[in-house]
Symmetry: C2
Subunit: 200 residues, 2 copies
């Protein structure tokens, strides 16, 4: 073995991360070598703390630090009448960064995909129907990726919510801002015409 | 803050690594989330162990794990007559991977660069001259990058080694294997002609 053992071990650890191959892993290890001992210790502690403290919220399934209820579900100033159903916590972060949506979320933790063996009972759907649709909730926004799995899951949710006395909506389809019509696919353009808005 | 604290802390840690921005750091944290607790613990421990155990060899300045003398300097089967002078440990790993060089190394830990305030006394030169040129050593190979700093350091070493009763050589310049003459720079081509080898 060309590398000393501790060097080699750390390379192998870094190679577990997405997009990190031999070269990048080696560069990361040189970077660790240049960090102070305190920086490396802090990093190591943060890794362990993350794994220990980060849990899924008992209510919505989003990440939460230290508590059983996430900061969104426990924020009394939020709009309790709307629940936005998303695939995963990444979507929650994205919506929170956009900063305009003030309602609650429900994280499914996946999409229905029979071909991959993921059935409705494998994702966090039953909680949504049985526990979250209280008298406050007026609208459920389905905010899933427009893929086959996303559409399947949307349809399934739509059926379940049919007689629940809530409005059900989905995200609009259309032109992404900053796009060029020249490069858009025909399906998006079709959707953009179908969902056109009258402006006068 | 959109992210829970432990999540955010870990993103900031990952962003210290070269080429890792917001997006990659976030992806790395999701990857940590998907690792088992044992995997994360092993990673954290390896980080701390690396920082604690990896030192510079007392003789050559190359990385060593746990010992004061690196595995190359303590390997009695190596050719003790030749010392290859390199800029850093990365070069040692590269030569070791190529697998043909069986002599010893001397790691300078940098190159002379007055413009960056790096003078001969700031890199590991004096040890080479005062401690390593014993009666065994017949040849010193200067294996530095052909940059201005590399050339400056080479010239400096050459002067110091002039009267030391050792042969001094440098790596050959020329076409890299697999290259296409069409795309090579004129300086490399000039060197390749200057250093041409007669084959019959």
């Amino acid at each position: 073995m060309v590398y000393p053992k501790d060097f080699y071990d750390l390379i192998e650890n870094f190679k577990l991360f997405p997009g990190v191959g031999d070269k990048s892993a080696e560069r990361f290890v040189y970077c660790v070598d240049e960090m102070t001992e305190d920086e490396v210790k802090a990093f190591a502690e943060n890794l362990k703390k993350f794994k220990k403290n980060i849990k899924k919220c008992d209510i919505c399934g989003h990440y939460t630090s230290n508590n059983n209820i996430c900061s969104i579900c426990s924020d009394k100033s939020r709009d309790l009448t709307t629940i936005c159903v998303v695939e995963d916590s990444k979507s929650v972060f994205k919506f929170e960064m956009s900063g305009t949506y003030k309602g609650l979320y429900h994280v499914l933790g996946g999409l229905i995909s029979p071909i991959d063996g993921i059935n409705p009972e494998d994702i966090n759907i039953s909680n949504l129907i049985s526990k979250r649709l209280n008298e406050n909730v007026k609208e459920v926004i389905i905010a899933l990726t427009p893929s086959i799995e996303g559409e399947t899951t949307s349809l399934y949710l739509q059926k379940l919510l049919e007689n629940k006395n809530v409005k059900v909506s989905r995200l609009s389809y259309g032109l992404p801002i900053g796009s060029d019509i020249e490069y858009l696919d025909p399906i998006t353009l079709t959707k953009a015409i179908d969902d056109r808005k009258f402006i006068s």
